[in-house]
Symmetry: C2
Subunit: 288 residues, 2 copies
């Protein structure tokens, strides 16, 4: 099957209805475009597990808390479609903003305490808007499975709760982060970095690895782990850490005493670009 | 086909999956039970328009802003099931609270300006909770058509926006209010009234009819219409009008100058029972 393009919800739904009748599993890979190897990994996993894969490309204006971030967000639609074709995506859905928001959104999704920490603290309204647009995409496509990257850990956790809370008949699949050779998590925003900024951007991941190591070697107090990690940041790099938090991997609430796996999640500003990353930290097993 | 009962989402979905494969239209009539002729009218219209009709009976604790209202809300499950059987409902869905809320609701629906006036002003959180539970019921049943009474005009308007905003593939059908011989709108809460209260409860509808008449005879300023109407209420009746508003029938926003059809909506307390009602008011056509 060749890759089909749909710009309209009506056309997409008509196409999917045909497939749905056959009982085939529909997979959805929602993206904001500017596709990289991390997205390709999502698509590949969807292709393995589903009969039909839809990749949506939609830069959702409502989830941007800063106008310049929305304006500067990388857009590479022609290349994205080529990536989808080489990855054997069945349908690429590229709706306009008017197609997704034909009128002002009167009803929205409100995220509770899950959205209180991490990015929720620094990007007001962002997570509600992500949950809202994902709900819309899930209603448009009605997939059996939907794929999200683990790099956006809080987003992934919220979408799992969204599906649980609204009893949506879809399985959410988290896919591991793809990294550059030096460990930098792939992100569409990486291409906004200058060569120098690209070098310094790795500081965030190193901070997370340091945290991971401290926890693996028995450190149990989150506050101390974070203080030690923050003290490791070289003074002369042009990176500002917005947050470094240790949270419960499921409900994203801060952990004080580390007794099981925790998620170390961080956000960093490199120039005007904001990057996020996370790693799972496993404490040493008690041997008594 | 006889009336089937389902208490679990899983069993209900299994039953519906069989029907869905045949391409039949599934109709949903969501209720809080204590069924009366108004509900029967919803069911009858659903039976006419759908191949399979599901009636849900679920008293949603989250939408009650007062504990005593939840506790005292009439519950007549055995009779309700009989009503469903006589109305040839295909499936009666009677989930427990744990079935609908197996865990605390982390993600909820937030209603915007549509929920600002009328009941939204007096029952904090109520409309968000209604929208949230309706979204859940729509996801559980995935009907092609869902039926709601026009008596709850603001609720109906919000559900129409909910469906529009989240692109849900369902048609919302509003069904006219059924009234007693004297005009009192049928409501499950009417059975909480004493015989004397039942007599005085009609004041609300009379107020709405007076408003309707004033508008039909050319009065255009909402403020004056409301003042005149309120002045009509006999001083000696034990009814407290919580609100009387003239709003746009679609978006439920207050109207100041009446230039087209408006909805006159009111809420009244009769003892500890709160009743609502509404009528559409058409101004006289300009003949210039």
């Amino acid at each position: 099957m060749t890759t089909a393009l749909s710009e309209s919800i009506e056309q997409l739904r008509a196409r999917l209805t045909e497939h749905r009748r056959t009982g085939i599993t529909i997979g959805l890979v929602p993206t904001m475009g500017s596709l990289h190897a991390g997205h390709v990994r999502l698509i590949e996993q969807a292709k393995q597990e589903c009969g039909i894969v839809v990749t949506s490309i939609f830069v959702n204006p409502l989830q941007f808390d800063r106008d310049d971030d929305f304006k500067n967000y990388p857009r590479t639609l022609a290349e994205d479609i080529e990536v989808c074709k080489s990855s054997a995506v069945d349908i690429v859905f590229t709706p306009s903003v008017d197609e997704i928001y034909p009128s002002p959104q009167e009803c929205t999704i409100k995220v509770g305490r899950l959205g209180t920490y991490l990015c929720g603290k620094y990007r007001p309204g962002h997570l509600n808007s992500v949950a809202t647009v994902v709900m819309k995409l899930l209603q448009i496509v009605q997939p059996g499975r939907a794929y999200f990257g683990e790099k956006d850990a809080q987003q992934l956790a919220i979408i799992r709760y969204l599906v649980r809370d609204f009893l949506l008949p879809v399985t959410i699949v988290g896919v591991p982060t793809v990294r550059e050779a030096d460990g930098l998590a792939l992100s569409s925003r990486n291409q906004l970095l200058s060569p120098t900024q690209r070098q310094t951007a790795i500081v965030l991941y190193k901070l997370l690895l340091y945290t991971q190591k401290k926890i693996a070697t028995g450190m149990k107090e989150a506050k101390i782990v974070k203080e030690l990690a923050m003290a490791q940041i070289p003074k002369d790099v042009a990176v500002r850490i917005e947050y470094l938090e240790l949270v419960d991997p499921e409900n994203m609430q801060p952990v004080e005493l580390i007794a099981g796996p925790v998620l170390a999640a961080g956000a960093a500003w490199v120039g005007t670009t904001r990057l996020i990353d996370n790693v799972i930290c496993n404490p040493i097993a008690d041997t008594h």
